[in-house]
Symmetry: C2
C-alpha cells in the first residue's frame, strides 16, 4: 500500500493540514456561490507583505520551512524541478516530470522561469497538502487510486464544476484500458493543475463571475500557450 | 546535412507540392485579409463527398495513396501513431511522439481517437508537404534549422499573425541555451500545430473574424482541454 509512505515522519512530502472534522462536509453541501462552483481552496501565491526570515511569508509553519531546507539539496535558496521531483517522489509514488513542471509553472514567480523561492514553495506545499487530504478522503479503500466519479466529487469539493463533456475528455487519458479511469495522486494533481490553471486564467477575464468572458485572439493565445509550452 | 534525406525517392515522407514559382511572394506581400492575417493554407479535413476508391477523396494524388500504403505497415487500412512516427522519422530527422500525437489530434476524425483513415491521412500529408516547402524556403543555408525570426516570417506566410508577447513564450522552449531559438522541422511542425490548432478553435467562435469572441467557461475548457490532454 503505497499510501502509507505519505506518513513517514522523515519524508519531505507535505503532511495533511489540520482541518476541523466537519469542514469538508460543510463545504461540500453548501450551495454554489458563483458560476464556478464552490469557493476556491486557498492555493494562490501569498502577498509579498509581511515576510519572516529566510524569505518565507510571516506565519509560515516551521514544518514548511524545514521541508524547504530538506528539498533544497544544493542549498541555493531556490528549488528547481529536479529537487521538487525528488522530494515529492520520496513521499509519494514517483511524480511525473510533466506534473512537476506544471506545478512549477502555476506557482513560480513569473519573472523566474526555472525555479521557485521560499514564498512560492510555501504556497505550493500547502496546496499539495490540502489536495493530499482531499485525495485521501476520496480514496476510501486506501488503494492509492481514485476513480472518475471520486475525481468529479473531489474537483467539486475544491470548487471546480467541470462540465460533463469536458470531464470525459479530461479523464480519457487515465483510462486503464477497460473504460474505467483510475488516478493515482500524481495524476490527480495533474488533473487539478489543468482545471485550476485554466479556471484561474478564465476568471481573471470574467471579473463579475458570470460564467462567460469576451476574449481577444491575442489574450486567448496568451492564456493558453504558456500552459502548453510548460507542459513539455 | 540532414535535409538531403528529405529528397530520397524511396522515402515515405511527403514531397513538396508543385507551387507556381511566384505564389509564395505573392501570398506574402498581399495585404491582410482578416484579423488573423493571411488566408489560411488549405489544411482542413476534406468534405466527405466525392470519394475515390480506397477511402481517399476524389482527386487525391497517386503519390499520397502510395504513401498511405507504405505507412500502413500492418495493412489495417488505418494509420496509428507509431506508423506515422516511423514514416515521418524515415524521411526527416526523428519526430517526437508528442508532435505526432498533436498532428493526429488535429487531423483525426473526432469519433476515432487512436488512428487516422485515408481521408485524414491525405489532408495531413498534403499539409505537411506544404509546411515542408515553407520550412525549406526559410532554411536558406540548408542547415535543417530555422531561427526565431524565420519562424515568425514562416508563420506569417502561412496566415498566422502571432502577437509578439505570445511569440516569445512560444519560442522559449526551443532556446538553445544562448538565448537564440533554433527549430528543426519537428519543432517547426509542433509550433505550427499549436498556433493552427488554437487559432482554428478560436475562429470557430469568431464567425465575423473580428479578432475577439465571447466564450463561456464551458466552451473555453472544451476548446483547450482536448489540446492539453492530447499533448501527452
Amino acid at each position: 500500500m503505497e499510501f502509507s509512505r505519505y506518513n513517514s515522519s522523515h519524508s519531505a512530502a507535505p503532511s495533511a493540514p489540520e482541518l476541523p472534522p466537519d469542514s469538508y462536509d460543510h463545504q461540500y453541501h453548501q450551495p454554489q456561490q458563483s458560476y464556478y462552483g464552490q469557493p476556491q481552496a486557498p492555493a494562490s501565491r501569498p502577498s509579498s507583505s509581511n515576510w519572516q526570515s529566510g524569505g518565507f511569508p510571516a506565519g509560515t509553519e516551521p514544518g514548511v520551512v524545514r521541508a524547504f531546507q530538506m528539498v533544497d539539496r544544493d542549498r541555493s535558496g531556490f528549488i528547481d524541478e529536479h529537487e521538487l521531483q525528488q522530494a515529492l517522489s520520496s513521499g509519494y509514488k514517483r511524480f511525473n516530470l510533466r506534473t512537476i513542471r506544471l506545478l512549477m509553472f502555476l506557482f513560480k514567480n513569473p519573472h523566474d522561469s526555472l525555479r521557485i523561492g521560499p514564498a512560492e514553495f510555501a504556497a505550493l506545499w500547502s496546496c499539495l497538502a490540502h489536495w493530499r487530504a482531499i485525495f485521501e478522503r476520496f480514496d476510501r479503500d486506501r488503494s492509492g487510486k481514485i476513480d472518475s466519479m471520486e475525481l468529479r466529487d473531489a474537483l467539486y469539493s475544491l470548487g471546480y464544476a467541470v462540465p460533463p463533456s469536458v470531464f470525459q475528455v479530461l479523464i480519457s487519458k487515465y483510462d486503464n484500458g477497460g473504460g474505467k479511469a483510475e488516478l493515482d495522486f500524481d495524476s490527480f494533481v495533474e488533473c487539478l493543475m489543468i482545471v485550476k490553471g485554466l479556471t484561474d486564467k478564465f476568471k481573471e477575464k470574467d471579473k463579475g463571475y458570470t460564467g462567460s468572458a469576451r476574449l481577444s485572439y491575442d489574450s486567448f493565445l496568451c492564456m493558453v500557450i504558456p500552459f502548453l509550452v510548460s507542459y513539455d
